[in-house]
């Protein structure tokens, strides 16, 4: 990882981004807005799955919000990769970076399962909730995406773990 950090921080793109003071905060802002798009889209579909919103069918709700989840993920990936290239030490060597990547992989798997659950419920046109399996996957998807966000700012969590516990 140390060599990767060295190599990335020497790249012309890395130097160029660091030279312009507003690029990093702009990328961070877009990264946060993409987070907002994912969380709010998941919440909107979850509300429908849990039967807390009933004005749309599940199909309509999924059609409206699922494409936004994947578009936001692309925006997130692009800004995230640029932030890593610009500041590899601060990102790659962060104590929770690997946890964040693991949680992100889980969140993507949950989002895919979420889509499968939505497809299973395609026939359902009434206003009822979508059953407990879909409800559980919906909750897991939301919790995992929140966990990814927390891990992205989670250096402090590492500091809270007592020293002796790190050797368990």
């Amino acid at each position: 990882m140390g060599e990767l950090v060295q190599w990335l921080s020497g790249l012309p793109l890395s130097l160029a981004i660091r030279r312009i003071s507003w690029v990093i905060p702009l990328m961070q802002t877009l990264h946060i807005l993409a987070t907002g798009m994912i969380l709010s889209s998941v919440i909107m579909v979850d509300l429908r799955i849990w039967g807390l919103s009933r004005s749309q069918t599940l199909v309509q709700s999924a059609h409206r919000f699922v494409p936004w989840i994947w578009s936001a993920m692309v925006l997130m990936l692009v800004t995230g990769v640029l932030l890593i290239i610009a500041a590899p030490r601060r990102t790659l060597l962060d104590s929770t970076f690997q946890v964040k990547m693991l949680l992100m992989a889980l969140a993507i798997v949950a989002t895919l399962a979420f889509q499968v659950a939505l497809r299973r419920n395609h026939g359902r046109q009434d206003g009822r909730s979508a059953g407990w399996i879909a409800g559980f996957i919906a909750a897991a998807t939301l919790i995992l995406w929140i966990a990814v966000t927390v891990a992205g700012r989670g250096r402090w969590i590492g500091n809270m773990i007592p020293h002796w516990a790190r050797y368990l």
């Binding site: 003071s21 905060p25 702009l26 961070q28 802002t29 946060i32 807005l33 987070t35 907002g36 798009m37 994912i38 969380l39 709010s40 889209s41 919440i43 909107m44 509300l47 807390l52 919103s53 004005s55 749309q56 309509q60 409206r64 929140i146 966000t149 927390v150 700012r153 989670g154 250096r155 402090w156 969590i157 500091n159 809270m160």
Partner: protein, 167 residues
Amino acid sequence: MTLPSIIDLLKWLETTPLAAFVSQSPWGFPAMLTLHLVAVAVVAGMIAVVDLRLLGLASTNTAVTDLCREALPWTWGAFLVSALTGVVLFAAQPVKYFENHAFRMKLLLMVLAGINMLAFHFIIYRRVAAWDRNTAVPLAGKLAGGISLLAWIAVVAYGRWTAYFML
């Protein structure tokens, strides 16, 4: 209130037990900041859902009243969390935030977004029955949606820039 008395008030705020805890504990400030970030992201995203409907860019087959009724209570819940954590974060370093130009812009834009929301709710939304579904939202409604969308994007941006102006 004169400027010195505001500074005195802020200095007093800094000495309150909660503010002292947050600024002195190794994890208090970053933990509050993390919670603030998650809540702000949800607020901006949920408000954008309604704004895009007003602008006619998304959810056009959903009635405006349905969308507001279903999305806004959760938006307010997230706003409450972001406001409470925001106040605690401010209390930890009140003088620094007060003198931070990006932070001032963030507050100013939130006031603008608030006035825009009140105008929408109490004036424009009263005639919602006429454009609730299958009809284009009137210009005033579109304008309110556009202002809200841009204002909240700018609030997020100035919030991020605030960190770079902390000296």
